[in-house]
Amino acid sequence: MNDEKIIELYFARSENAITETDKKYGESCRKTAYSILGSHEDSEECTNDTYLKVWDVIPPQRPTKLGAFVMRILRNLAIDLLRHRTAFKSGGGYCSVGYDEIAECLPSSESVESTADRNAVRKAIEKYLSSLPRDKKIMFMKRYFSCCTYAEIAEGLNMTEGKVKMSLQRMREKLREHLEKEGIVI
């Protein structure tokens, strides 16, 4: 079923909306949730929470890209859940994304002069992403949105894991430079 039809089902408050959403996006949702949470049980719970959240917000919202809409909710719920669950043990690390790795994306505070608001940072990241070829965009998003492992990304893109890793490392460095150039401080 296409997205438009599924959204219509949400508007009609038909529970089939969730069934159809699950049919179409369930696998992606569970996979992403598992990448972040590392547990099938948690990812199932997170996916179900996502559907409920989607149910709550459509209507009134009418997303133009249902898939992205669902994934965004799912991912944010998963990250929240991860932070909550791992607060004691590891202080909220991301399943396959290390702190060092994220730090490489962020500008060093000494090197910039001005501060930008959250919206500006997001736009700066999007601007950087827009300059990337599609493969690299996918790599970046799979890594930092979906928290996929290098191996998963490599498999999806028919590349070696080493290439993905190397490529992501360069992207992180470039993003940091880009953010610094834009005068961003996080």
Binding site: M1, N2, E4, K5, Y25, S28, G38, S39, P63, K65, G67, A68, M71, I79, R83, A87, F88, K89, S90, G91, G93, Y94, G98, Y99, I102, A103, L106, R118, V121, R122, I125, K127, Y128, L129, S130, S131, P133, R134, D135, K137, I138, M141, K142, Y144, F145, T149, A151, E155, G156, L157, N158, T160, E161, G162, K163, M166, S167, K174, H178, I186
Partner: protein, 1102 residues
């Protein structure tokens, strides 16, 4: 909120377009492809017989013309196009298609397009025709005319390719696709290029595609259509006909990436860049031009390759129009924000100097200014790395490429073509061969011209051999006395020369060098480094230039010995080789014997024969007892020939002889009995047998038992210390040629007696085989090479060790092993941010370390590598890196690499189900510290209050971390598994943390030498990646605690924390003088910051 969290949140807020990418499907590998949003390309006139190249050019130039991302470049025989999945040319007259209402619920987008539809696409008026096809892809034309379809005809990127085999269509390729995103208009025609994703062999094929008749979202039918095509041969036939080094495999650099241009194009990209305007004006002729140029492999001439100048000249276009286009283009180029300069600088505008050179057609200046940095320029010719790759070093010489030019480029190639950058790596095998070729040419550049080579002289070595230091004055006197008694001056001279030549390799091998000449040629040369060296098949140097003529060396021997005997002596010498006309030599392992004194007896002295018995009393260091005297007896024989007196036999070189073997000329044979089964004739089986068979010494002629131990050979073999260079055979024997350090040898096994193995001393290599000498009775056996050891390179002997493991544990283990090595490609072993050892792959590939087997059980293999971790003050801790493999119940092998303090030799067993490695937590020390020190209890509050009073916050933080690591139990909330001893007693429990993350935490806080003690003290164990811990707890007596901090003024790099516990008065509860607790923690300041060298705790129970 931390910055990292903010970043991750921001990623979650990105535009839907980016988030949608996370659901992307694998893309096909394709040399040429376009994005699915190709519909932005304006319609063009569809022509018959449009070629793949034209399509490429069209889209490249089209996109360039639209000033989109501008790295789409026409290069010599290569086009670089990023991230396009497919080319589609649309019919300009296609009317828009209107969809109807939703009527059904099934969504076609979830259907695998490789599943054949039930309806023939022809029913809907769809025909498919393969316009042209090659081994990479096929251009198909899809037409719609008439038919009975009811909605909108769409199709996606899924397809299958079937090969006609034995009268049937057999599926060859299945390309999954699940989006119906291309539409076929009524009466429309689409022309497309689909790449298979792999090369197809010659044969008859058909491509099958599915179409949907989409009436509305969810309401559709599916039909299948196909187009047949034939592939007559490979695309590269023409190309390879003109390549002289046909032994080179495909380089393996993907043409998807920019480095392919660095590899293949002689020119800077801007010279090869044919702009849209230019090309479209010359469309038909341009197509022919491109085709012609493509047929010239590895062009090096300006006019042979595709570039602005050849385009202009071949198609008779005025340069002015070209220049006008170029200037216009240069002015319009813009680059996306954030694009690194190095990525676009090569397509920046031309300089006026360059334009002038191009305008004038000055080929030499053009070559100088516009050759790619990877190319070698000689006059007006420009040789790309690809040209070098596909040509021989003879070709290099012929065109004037010098070894120095290659030497200058090699580091650049190494940086660019072996994976330093994304997507640029050449296949390992290709790079190895390419590099070996280039290096051999560089080395050949160091060879000395024949006319400069010197004459090797016996006199020089004779003088040296009888120096007081070498021979001893008393011994010389004794010798002279005997020789004088002969009354034969010729033999007197010959005896000394024979002694000197036969003991040549007993002395410093630099004796063989023509030092004056070598210094003149190489300056301050060093053995095997500065001067020319010979390389074995692995690229390892085994002999170096001497500066002498080989023939003069041979003549010197023949002036002393009978011809046949001289040949044999030289053949037996383990260290001499000839290359061209020059003598090369390598170092040898000295027998480490020192002659104490000789005794001579003249047994025969006639007019044509003299026999002298020589008894040498030596010190033999090989017995490790220098007081041992070993007596060697030789009978040295001289005969008169037609050329004068010659030595017919001189025994001093038979260093293996012992006193009781005077007549046993088989003294150099070691006979060993083998316990296990005989072997087959396959090379690997021979090696397996030789190195892994169980052998024992059955008979020996020598007192040197250690030397005969094949345990040594097995270990050396496994660890890569022995390099096997080939398997040889004659009708009678197998021989495994090997080198071990500077020396070489052969393991020889007779086919008629496979239970016996001989280990010969050494072997010289000839051009097409080997000559070995097994025993004195065998005057040299010439054998032809049977096989190179497969996949074996220097230091890679562990390959055989690996193969041994693979044989034992099977294919799944092998896959797991290789996967682990591959995964380890870009990761070294790190501690504290410092690399302390190379990757496992490098260890196995280059033999950079000596791993050994830790555990070998049915379901566990652990390979360990010891190394030392040094902190900044130079204190070293011995640690172990580890590869581990663990067999799961279903036969799969889990694997990982670890750095381990205590390799698990404890014999503990796992009880319960361990946490999978990928689900383990990384221990976060700071997070843990934050949690512990925010606890709402009295002890922590008091401690916090005390710590707040200390100014040095860095010490405070380290103290807090140390406190956590020394006092907090690591047991996880849900104990997944335990380690138990033989009695079933639980020794350690699962923590849920990776071993490495915990160890790194300790290394951040404690001095490294203290970490080992702590780990042992804390009873930490590693299982898989996980840390298991004994579950330590700390108790503190009920007392009044006082804290003390002291940083002595005279020792600013020292800080001491002390905790004192005083007993309470039972009645008042007040502090008494009785000390019930006393502990301290000592911190030292090193260059990496404060580290704890001791942290005392009061009482800890397990």
């Amino acid at each position: 909120m931390r910055r990292e969290d903010i970043f991750m949140d921001l990623i979650g807020e990105l535009d839907d377009n980016y988030i949608a990418l996370t659901m992307s499907h694998p893309k096909r590998r394709a040399i040429v492809s376009v994005t699915r949003n190709i519909t932005f390309v304006q319609p063009v006139e569809v022509e018959n017989n449009v070629s793949k190249r034209e399509l490429r050019l069209y889209y490249i130039t089209r996109v360039l013309g639209m000033a989109a991302v501008t790295f789409l470049i026409v290069g010599a025989a290569v086009l670089l196009i990023m991230n396009w999945d497919k080319i589609i040319v649309r019919d300009p007259d296609t009317p828009p298609v209107v969809t109807t209402d939703v009527t059904t619920v099934t969504d076609p987008s979830i259907i695998d397009q490789t599943e054949t539809g039930y309806i023939d696409a022809a029913d809907w008026g769809i025909t498919m025709e393969a316009v042209s096809a090659d081994t990479d892809g096929v251009i198909i034309e899809i037409r719609q005319s008439g038919g009975s379809f009811t909605g909108q005809i769409k199709y996606g990127y899924g397809f299958t390719v079937e090969k006609y085999t034995n009268g049937e269509w057999v599926q060859e390729i299945s390309q999954y696709g699940d989006y119906w995103e291309y539409e076929l208009a009524p009466d429309g025609t689409n022309r497309e290029y689909w790449t298979y994703g792999k090369k197809l062999d010659a044969g008859k094929y058909r491509i099958v595609k599915n179409f949907v008749d989409l009436r509305a979202p969810g309401d559709f039918d599916i039909a299948s259509g196909y187009a047949e095509f034939e592939i007559s041969g490979t695309n590269d036939i023409d190309r390879f006909e003109q390549i002289t080094d046909t032994s080179m495999p495909e380089p393996g650099i993907s043409s998807m990436y920019g480095s392919y241009l660095d590899f293949s194009s002689p020119w800077k990209i801007k010279v090869s860049h044919i702009l849209l305007g230019m090309y479209t004006e010359q469309r038909e002729r341009g197509s022919e031009w491109v085709k012609n140029k493509e047929n010239i492999p590895t062009p090096y001439n300006l006019y042979d390759s595709m570039n602005l100048v050849s385009f202009c000249r071949d198609l008779d276009i005025s340069w002015e129009s070209i220049e006008e286009n170029v200037r216009e283009w240069d002015g319009s180029v813009s680059y996306p924000a954030g694009t690194p300069k190095e990525e676009y600088e090569d397509i920046e505008r031309f300089t006026e100097e360059e334009l002038t050179a191009l305008r004038n057609g000055d080929a030499e200046t053009i070559a100088r200014l516009l050759a790619s940095e990877y190319s070698i320029v000689i006059g007006e010719n420009v040789f790309s790395p690809e040209w070098l790759y596909y040509h021989t070093i003879e070709d290099y010489r012929a065109v004037g490429v010098t070894p120095e030019m290659i030497a200058e480029k090699l580091p650049l190639y190494e940086d660019t073509f072996i994976g330093k950058d994304i997507g640029t790596d050449m296949a390992d095998e290709s790079w190895t061969l390419f590099k070996a070729k280039l290096e051999s040419y560089i080395i050949s550049g160091k060879t000395i011209p024949d006319d400069m080579l010197g004459e090797w002289s016996v006199a020089d070595v004779t003088d040296n051999a009888f120096s007081e230091q070498e021979f001893g004055s008393d011994n010389l006197e004794s010798l002279n006395k005997m020789l004088d008694s002969l009354g034969n001056n010729d033999v007197k001279k010959l005896y000394k020369q024979a002694y000197a030549l036969c003991t040549l390799t007993e002395r410093d091998y630099d004796d063989l060098s023509n030092d004056n000449l070598l210094k003149q040629i190489y300056g301050d040369f060093q053995y095997s480094s500065e001067r020319a060296v010979l390389l074995d098949i692995s690229g390892s140097a085994y002999a170096c230039s001497s500066g002498y003529l080989w023939e003069s060396f041979v003549s010197a021997y023949k002036s002393v010995f009978e011809d046949d005997y001289a040949d044999r002596l030289i053949a037996d010498m383990p260290c001499v080789y000839h290359y061209g006309k020059e003598l090369y030599y390598s170092g040898v392992t000295s027998t480490l014997r020192v002659m104490l004194y000789p005794e001579y007896t003249v047994l025969k002295n006639t007019n044509d024969e003299i026999v002298i018995r020589e008894i040498c009393y030596n010190i033999d260091y090989e017995t490790k007892e220098v007081t041992d005297e070993v007596r060697y007896v030789n009978e040295n024989r001289f005969v008169k020939t037609s050329d004068g007196w010659r030595c017919a036999y001189f025994g001093i070189n038979d260093t293996k002889k012992s006193s009781d073997q005077i007549t046993d000329t088989s003294a150099r044979e070691y006979t060993l009995n083998r316990i296990d089964d005989p072997f087959g004739d396959h090379a690997f089986e021979i090696l397996e047998n030789a190195f892994y068979g169980e052998w024992e010494i059955a008979e020996k002629h020598e007192p040197y038992e250690e030397k005969l131990s094949l345990t040594y050979s097995k270990d050396a073999f496994y660890h890569g210390m022995i390099v096997v260079s080939g398997i040889c055979e004659t009708d009678e024997i197998y021989a495994i040629m090997f080198s071990n350090g500077g020396a070489g040898g052969a393991l020889v096994i007779e086919k008629s007696s496979p239970d016996v193995m001989y280990w010969t001393d050494a072997y010289p290599i000839s051009a097409d085989g080997y000559t070995i000498s097994v025993g004195d009775n065998i005057p040299g056996t010439y054998i032809n090479r049977k096989a190179e050891v497969p996949g074996l390179k220097s230091g890679e002997l562990s390959e055989l060790g690996k193969k041994k493991l693979f044989n034992i544990y099977g294919k799944k283990f092998e896959d797991s092993f290789n996967e682990l090595l591959e995964k380890d490609k870009s990761e070294g072993i790190y501690f504290d941010g410092r690399t302390v050892y190379p990757t496992w792959k490098d260890i196995f590939r280059f033999g950079e370390a000596t791993p050994y087997l830790g555990t070998l059980t049915d379901d566990e293999v652990r390979i360990l590598m010891p190394y030392y971790y040094e902190d900044d003050s130079g204190n070293a801790t011995e640690l172990y890196a580890e590869m581990w493999f663990s067999k799961y119940y279903n036969g799969d092998w889990g694997s990982g690499t670890n750095v381990s303090i205590t390799p698990d030799a404890s014999g503990l067993k796992i009880n319960g189900k361990p946490i999978p490695n990928n689900e383990l937590e990384e221990f976060d020390l700071d997070a843990m510290t934050g949690i512990v020190f925010s606890a709402n209890n009295k002890t922590i509050k008091e401690l916090n209050n005390f710590l707040e009073s200390i100014d040095n916050k860095e010490i405070v933080q380290q103290y807090k971390r140390a406190y956590v690591l020394r006092t907090v139990a690591f047991a996880s909330d849900d104990v997944a598994a335990t380690l138990v001893d033989d009695t079933g007693k639980v020794v350690a429990v699962s923590t849920g943390f990776t071993f490495e993350s915990v160890m790194n935490a300790y290394l951040q806080v404690f001095k490294s030498e203290y970490v080992s003690d702590l780990f042992a003290d804390l009873h930490f164990y590693r299982y898989g990646d996980e840390l298991f811990c004994a579950g330590v707890s700390v108790s503190t007596p009920d007392c009044i605690i006082e804290y003390v901090f002291n940083s002595p003024d005279d020792s600013p790099d020292l800080a001491v924390f002390a905790v004192m516990g005083y007993a309470k008065d039972e009645k008042t509860g007040k502090k008494t003088d009785e000390i019930v607790l006393s502990k301290d923690a000592i911190f030292e300041l090193s260059s990496v910051g404060w580290r704890c060298r001791h942290f005392g705790i009061s009482d800890r129970t397990q």
